[in-house]
């Protein structure tokens, strides 16, 4: 009875991950600085969920083709547009993202955006009429944002305490640093590419946090086990051994998840593309960080080797 057909990773690869830790740290620090700079310079392109925008109600001759309208609205360089059928077959609700700026400028810009959209629709869809246009507030109100942020911070704190309780404090420091690392770099991706940051992006980032934590705990579990097993070995050696022990699992799991996500990215259409791009990026970063950030930090924080906990 054959167990498996593929064995991707040679057993005991013995790759010297830990030796590369200085380069890895330098790389991570560069990425973080780059992300923060991009954030400071470009900011984040928040979607209509966060900024609010304009809402326009239109009426078409005969049943409306939502896909066509979505395409027209999307091609105008006005940011992402939400298109919804509205009661009857020939009524459509379009929402455009708010434009940046303040006061009268932004109002003029909004007017112009509305005019651009209206002209484009009238040119390309015969018989279209605009029934109403209105300013729309953000879906994510201030209270909601604060609630979400508090929740994430409390969750981080409790995860830290749990890992402290199950492992040692050095592990929780490492895990949380790796997590913060992943989140900053993923937000950096949004700052650099100016992809729209909307509610599904928030979900993607939360997913990355979950994934990265899972990955880190698996590596840590093996480190804990090996530290007890090889009391005589040098700590760097034990860390390296543990990373190599779990390497085939790390790669298999990342690979399966990435396969599913690439499918989502390739055929999921524009809405799912941003979402899956963030996830793919985050999973690569998350896998990297459990090997090159979370594990080597244990060397710096001098993990206690005589832990009697299980």
């Amino acid at each position: 009875m054959a167990f498996g057909l593929v064995s991707l990773i040679p057993n005991d690869a013995g790759i010297p991950f830990i030796r590369g830790r200085v380069i890895a740290f330098a790389f991570s620090v560069l990425m973080i600085i780059g992300s923060l700079t991009a954030y400071a310079v470009n900011g984040i392109n928040f979607g209509i969920d966060f900024t609010g925008g304009i809402q326009m109600e239109i009426d078409t001759d005969g049943p409306a083709d939502l896909a066509q309208i979505r395409e027209i609205a999307g091609s105008l360089d006005l940011g992402a547009a939400d298109v919804q059928g509205f009661g009857e077959a020939d009524k459509v609700l379009i929402r455009l993202q708010a434009l940046e700026g303040e006061g009268l400028d932004v109002e003029a810009a909004q007017q112009q955006a509305r005019q651009t959209l209206q002209t484009a629709l009238e040119e390309q869809i015969p018989g279209v009429t605009v029934l109403a246009a209105d300013v729309l507030g953000a879906k994510v109100s201030g209270e909601l944002q604060i609630a979400g942020l508090t929740a994430v911070l409390v969750a981080l704190g409790l995860m830290l305490i749990y890992i402290w309780f199950r492992f040692e404090w050095q592990y929780s420091v490492g895990a949380v640093l790796a997590l913060v690392h992943d989140v900053i770099i993923t937000i950096g991706l949004f700052a650099v590419t100016q992809m729209e940051f909307n509610l599904s992006t928030v979900a993607a980032i939360l997913t990355i946090v979950g994934y990265s934590m899972n990955d880190t705990v698996v590596v840590y579990d093996r480190i804990r086990e090996n530290l007890r097993k090889f009391k005589k070995k040098e700590i760097g050696e034990v860390l390296n051994l543990s990373i190599n022990d779990t390497l085939s699992r790390t790669i298999l799991t990342s690979f399966t998840t990435l396969v599913a996500l690439f499918a989502l990215f390739a055929i999921g259409g524009p809405t799912l593309q941003g979402f899956s791009a963030a996830m793919i990026f985050g999973i690569v970063v998350g896998t990297y960080s459990s090997i090159f950030v979370a594990a080597p930090i244990l060397m710096i924080t001098k993990v206690n080797r005589d832990s009697s906990e299980d």
């Binding site: 057909l5 840590y220 699992r249 690979f255 989502l264």
Partner: protein, 552 residues
């Protein structure tokens, strides 16, 4: 690890069966599960779905995936403005009564201004100075207060000949009141409609004074209107039974007593003291329960409310008190003994649904203004059919890729992990259908993550078995050790993530909560499928075939 006691086998099979039972409604179209009246699908199950204990709900798709009801409400800002003017008049009269007292005719609201008429001309300057304190910088922000450049909330004009000072609310202050009122209304509406945190409605400000509410699915729009339409200001007053009231609600009332309509047919009016014993703001919690088989609403006061209510009821044993909700007496019980614990029940001829709705309203707090529905429609999914189709296809392709990959990597063990994976998805679907949580795109992200984690659990176990077999253990021993050694990693990883899911659910709101629900459910089901189901399958296989080698 390879031995399963009969009760454990029973438990595993029972969970799998329950999952299948709860997820089957998803395979049957809604019009075959529910009664259809006038071409519309109602919420009454029919046929075999109507039997008690038969789950009949399918997964509730969220607004982005299915669309739903679209309602626009208008906030009555005139009323808020009037309230503000009345308050301002009251503040003015309090300020002028402070020593040294400045004699004025009672400040009154005339149109859009408060008019203060000073009794003696020589007091006009003093009154003018004192009234200035009623105005604050708009927005209360530090910059405006320090610099003093910011707009003020109240503007003053004086008419020396008439000895009159006029107070008006500045446009800036009105703007601020308007914004605040609409923002507060949005939060209250959210708490009312999304009480469980599972519905995921869209609630946003539209224009200056409107609120847009979209709720997923064919939910009864009238119920939403009712939930939003009530101000839900609840107060407790003593009843004055000495007043006789005629059929049209007229009667001679002593000062401080007013006549209110009631919801009880036998007693359409009651006279009550204008001053409330306790205010609804002191309520901390309300819930619908049953008492003697009747639906009632149970409530709990905070410390201040409990003290006030305790004092009022101790002094008035034998009298009645009225519970007033938005100018309507909903209940008027007799105080039989002092109510000191700060909790009580409202009996008001409720149905279970109306009791539940009242509890939701009381918990969500009062609206700062009344809202009227101005628009009501249905909307299609926010994502568009084309996108949903593409997304579904992508999920199926991704899923198939994972299944093929697991087969290729682990052969027969891949079959077990794939069965576990399918059961996992069934269980998640079943749980979502049972809980009636809205499934949105963020929710699907949660499912993808848990499926990833479930696959990961199996990979961890199988890799460990491989490793142990390579170290020279017999197949049975390798499987045993593989499972037990992988356990700590999987449990620690899943518990850590579950903690995050639980916190996100309790503290987060809206989409963050939707994500947390699917993630939390998914973690439980994937630990179950990886640790009980797939191990059970492996054990059965092992007993049947007794392989001598695991063949790496």
């Amino acid at each position: 690890m390879l031995y399963f006691s009969p009760w454990k086998i029973f438990l595993i099979l029972a969970v799998v069966l329950l999952g299948i039972l709860f997820s089957t409604p998803n395979l049957v179209p809604a019009n075959e599960r529910f009664e259809v009246r006038n071409g519309e699908v109602t919420s009454e199950p029919r046929g075999i779905w109507a039997f008690p204990l038969v789950p009949h709900n399918s997964v509730n798709l969220g607004l982005d995936l299915r669309g739903g009801a679209h309602l626009v409400f208008e906030v009555d800002l005139e009323e808020v403005k009037e309230d503000r003017l009345i308050n301002l008049a009251e503040e003015a009269s309090v300020a002028l009564r402070q020593a040294p007292v400045i004699n004025v005719r009672r400040p009154s609201v005339v149109g859009e201004e408060v008019v203060v008429r000073v009794a003696r001309a020589e007091d006009l300057d003093a009154a003018w100075d004192r009234l200035q304190d009623l105005s604050q910088p708009v927005g209360n922000n530090a910059l405006a207060q320090q610099g003093g450049f910011g707009a003020q909330t109240v503007a003053f004009t004086r008419d020396d000949a008439e000895r009159i000072i006029r107070l008006t609310i500045t446009p800036e202050a009105l703007d601020e009141i308007q914004t605040r009122t609409v923002t507060q209304s949005i939060e209250v509406i959210r708490r009312r409609i999304d009480e469980t945190g599972l519905t995921e409605p869209t609630i946003a400000r539209q224009g200056d004074n409107r609120v847009l509410v979209q709720v997923p699915g064919e939910a009864n729009p009238q119920r939403i209107i009712d939930l939003v339409n009530t101000t839900a200001r609840m107060t407790f007053h003593l009843v004055d039974s000495t007043v006789s009231i005629d059929a049209s609600g007229q009667g001679r009332t002593p000062p401080g007593v007013v006549i209110y309509p009631t919801e009880r047919p036998g007693e359409p009016w009651l006279a009550i003291q204008r001053r409330a014993m306790v205010d609804g703001e002191n309520l901390t919690n309300a819930s619908a329960t049953a008492q003697n088989g009747q639906p009632v609403v149970q409530f709990q006061f905070d410390t201040a409310g409990a003290t006030a209510f305790g004092r009022a009821t101790s002094q008035n044993v034998g009298r009645r008190f009225a519970i007033v909700l938005d100018d309507m007496i909903i209940s008027a019980p007799t105080i039989r003994s002092p109510i000191l614990g700060g909790s009580g029940v409202i009996e008001g001829g409720f149905t279970y649904e109306s009791a539940n709705d009242l509890a939701i309203l009381l918990n969500a707090g009062a609206l700062p203004a009344s809202l009227t529905p101005v628009e009501q429609r249905t909307v299609t999914a926010g994502l568009g059919q084309d996108q949903i189709r593409a997304g579904t296809l992508a999920v199926i392709v991704g899923f198939a890729a994972v299944i093929i990959f697991m087969l290729a990597a682990y052969g027969v063990f891949g079959i077990f992990s794939n069965i576990a994976l399918l059961v996992n998805v069934t269980l998640i679907l079943g749980a979502l259908s049972g809980l009636q949580a809205s499934l949105t795109l963020p929710g699907i992200a949660g499912i993808i993550l848990t499926i990833g984690m479930a696959v990961d659990a199996n990979v961890l176990i199988y890799e460990r078995i491989r490793e142990e077999a390579r170290a020279g253990r017999s197949p049975a021993n390798a499987i045993e050790t593989g499972y037990s050694r992988a356990l700590s990693a999987i449990l620690d990883a899943n518990i850590t993530t579950f903690i995050a899911a639980a916190v996100l659910f309790m503290l987060g709101a809206g989409p963050v909560r939707g994500f947390a629900v699917t993630l939390g459910i998914g973690i439980i089901t994937s630990v179950f499928t990886a640790f009980l189901l797939s191990r059970f399958l492996v054990a059965m296989w092992f007993k049947a075939f007794k392989p001598q080698k695991l063949g790496f």
